[in-house]
Structure formats: C-alpha cells, structure tokens
Amino acid sequence: MSEPFEPKIVAFVCTYCTYAGADLAGTSRLKYPPNIRMVRLPCTGRISPMFILKALQKGADGVLVSGCHPGDCHFTQGNYHARRRWTVFRALLNFTGIPLERIRFSWISAAEGVKFAELISSLTEDIRKLGPFDQYKAMIHETEAPVSL
C-alpha cells in the first residue's frame, strides 16, 4: 500500500504578525499538519521573490507568504510595498505556468492563531490534491543528472 503524498510547503512569514500568530496556534494547542517549514523574516517587505524561486528550486511543492494586515506593519509600510511586488510577481508566475494554487499569500495577525491553523490545514490539503510539482522537479532532476559527453 502506498503512503499518501506529503507535500513540502515553505512559509515565509513576518516575525511580528504571522510568526506570532503561529506561536499562538501552538500555545493554544491547535492542530495543524506538519508539512510546513517556516522561515521567519523581519517583515514581508524583506521577502524577495527570489526566496520563492529558491524554495521551488530546493523542491518545495508549495509556498506560503504571510504577514501583517495592511495598516498593521511594524515598519508602517513594509507590507504595502510587499503587496505590490506580489501582485506583479504572481502575474509573472502565472504567465510562465507556475500554478497559482501552489504560491499563496495571506495576512495573518498575531491574534489569528485559529486562522493560521485553518489556513495551513486547507493549504496542505489543496497541495496534496495537486500532487508533487512534477514539472519543476523534472527541471531539478536534470541538473542532478550525470554529464553525458
């Protein structure tokens, strides 16, 4: 019997809101799938689109980017800048054929532990349904193949 596919999901989160929200989910003993790997950053404004590409390059099946709600940024406007960047980058990913269901964005505040746990559960389920990102993985495998002369 084959085991169910366990997706690898990388989450880039800001330390002031979403990371604190995740912390609240943990201290509230809320259950969410362990498929998520969190990377904590000072602000969503610090999250370069390169991070998303790097996560895919290292074999992630999905990426979540999350930070403070608009107006709540610790640095006043980091998330506004990030929002514009995501809009454009998301359009680019879509145009080049990277399914948008794999790259998700959210606002989660420090008080929204429940929202965090629910989002991670639904995200994991969605990506489990999509299966591994085979098209991208084929490209990664190509780089690992021995050189043929």
Binding site: M50, Y80, R84, T87, V88, F95, T143
Partner: protein, 276 residues
C-alpha cells in the same frame, strides 16, 4: 531637407556652439542594414551620423556609462519615443539629471521617420501620454492572449521549451538600458540565487528574475528581443508585465522624470484580491 541632413546640421550646431560635449547617435554598422552607436565630439564628424529606419537601438543605456555625466556638461542623444521614456525612468531612479540631456528625437510613423519637436524630457510629455493610449500591436497582443488561454501545464511547457534554448549569454541584460546595476544578482555567488549551470532550471530562474526586475520599468524598445541569439520571445513577458502594472496600478512606465517607480511606491487601496 531629409531628416538625416536636418539632424546632422543640428548635431554640428550643438557641438560647434559647445552646448553639448558629445553626441550619442547612430553610425554605419557592419552590414548596410545595420547601425551601431556612434559617439562624436567635434562638429566635423557630424557627417558620419545616420538617421534612418535601421536606427532601432535604444541608446539611452549609454547615458549611465561611468563618468559620462559627472562633469555636469550636457550630452546630446538620438532617441525614439521609447528611448525618451527610458531617460525618464533613469532620471526618476536618480541615475541621471535630465537637465544634462539634450534629446534629438525621431519617431517612425507608418514607415517614415519624423523628427520630434523638443529637446528636454519634459517637452515630450504630451507625446508619451498618447503612447499610453495606443500601446499594443495586435499581433503581439494576440500571442499574449494565446498564452494566457493555455492551461498552466501548457504554459509551463511552452516557456520551458523557450528557456531551454537560453545560453545565459546575458545579452538581454547588457543591451537593456534599465539593467545598470554594477553587480547583477546573477553575478552574485553568495548566495547563489540563480543556478549557473547550463540547465533549464537556471535559465528559467534567470528569465523570471529578469522579467521581474523590468516590471514597471520596461519601455518595450525591443532591444532584448533583437539581442537574443536564440530568439526567445522576451518581449512577450515584458509586455505581459507592462499590462499587469497598467491594469493593477494604472501605471505606464516612463511618463515623466518625476514619476515614482511602481514597485517603490504604493497606495493604501491597491488591489489585493488574491491575498487570503
């Protein structure tokens, strides 16, 4: 008087009077149908200038050459409307002072070259506003829509096949007036964001990064498209990105030299339908 004669005369006047220290224009290229950048410093050389349909390169990238503008003297430059937009962007990004640039503008109207009135960037704002209204050529728009109509898998396969051809010569970067970084992200190896080996993965990443860095900055001069030795339709991605910033933020690049760069500014009510 032909446009070429007219502009040779104007260039000679500018140099003779000492108004500009150098003129950046087009001279004969390696074959009769090609032109290459020509830099002239004395009025006698104005006869070497060529102005015709084959003058398709966007010369504005030369303006940010190290030390060119540091003596505060003026520089004359031949530009098409797209080139004028590039100068606006470079000025808005604090790469040059627009008062130092004397523009010798020309545009291609249905196959015949016409001189553009004006010499400083602000003289062309009305012209650029009209460009915003009638941007796309139908064939290119059709191709963009064709790609948009595919499923993500088909799109991925389409671009994968295109990017597989890429040899990472970075000609698209070298030719682009917007790629003025002293150290490009792909030349960085700590961290190594983009894979450098000759596999499709790195090519894919490089082309994504290039397109992203040009979103809201590209003026669609077509330089990258012409420079690409393996004919990747780079212009299509750039067009899609320009379309996106126009639709989402009503932003048309290079409108004026004071226009804030689209990804360095924001509005509190920017659209965010995709954020959960």
């Amino acid at each position: 008087m032909s446009i070429q004669e007219q502009y040779r005369k104007r260039a000679a006047e500018l140099l003779a009077s000492g108004e500009v220290k150098i003129i950046i224009g087009y001279g004969a290229g390696s074959t009769p149908d090609r032109r290459r950048a020509l830099f002239i410093r004395s009025a006698e050389d104005a006869g070497l200038l060529q102005v015709d349909q084959a003058c398709d390169a966007n010369l504005s990238g030369y303006l940010v050459s190290e030390g060119l503008l540091s003596d505060r003297k003026k520089v004359g430059i031949f530009l098409r409307p797209e080139g004028i937009r590039s100068v606006n962007i470079l000025a808005a990004e604090s790469q040059l002072d627009p008062l130092q640039i004397v523009i010798l503008g020309f545009s291609d109207e249905n196959g015949s070259l016409t001189p553009l009135q004006g010499s400083s960037v602000s003289d062309f704002s009305a012209l650029i506003s009209t460009l915003k209204e009638r941007r796309s050529t139908p064939e290119e728009q059709e191709l963009v829509e064709k790609i948009e109509g595919m499923t993500p898998e088909e799109r991925f396969a389409f671009w994968q096949a295109e990017f597989a051809k890429c040899i990472k010569c970075y000609a698209c970067r070298q030719v682009c007036p917007m790629c003025y970084c002293k150290r490009c992200i792909v030349d960085n190896n700590q961290p190594q964001w983009v894979q450098t080996s000759s596999h499709t993965l790195g090519n894919f990443e490089w082309n994504l990064v290039r397109a992203f860095h040009l979103s809201g900055r590209c003026v669609e001069c077509g330089g990258c498209d012409r420079a690409c030795p393996v004919n990747i339709p780079l212009r299509l991605i750039n067009r899609r990105m320009a379309q996106e910033v126009l639709e989402a933020f009503d932003y048309f690049s290079g409108m004026s030299h004071t226009q804030e760069p689209v990804l360095a500014s924001f509005k509190k009510d920017d659209p965010e339908t995709f954020i959960l």
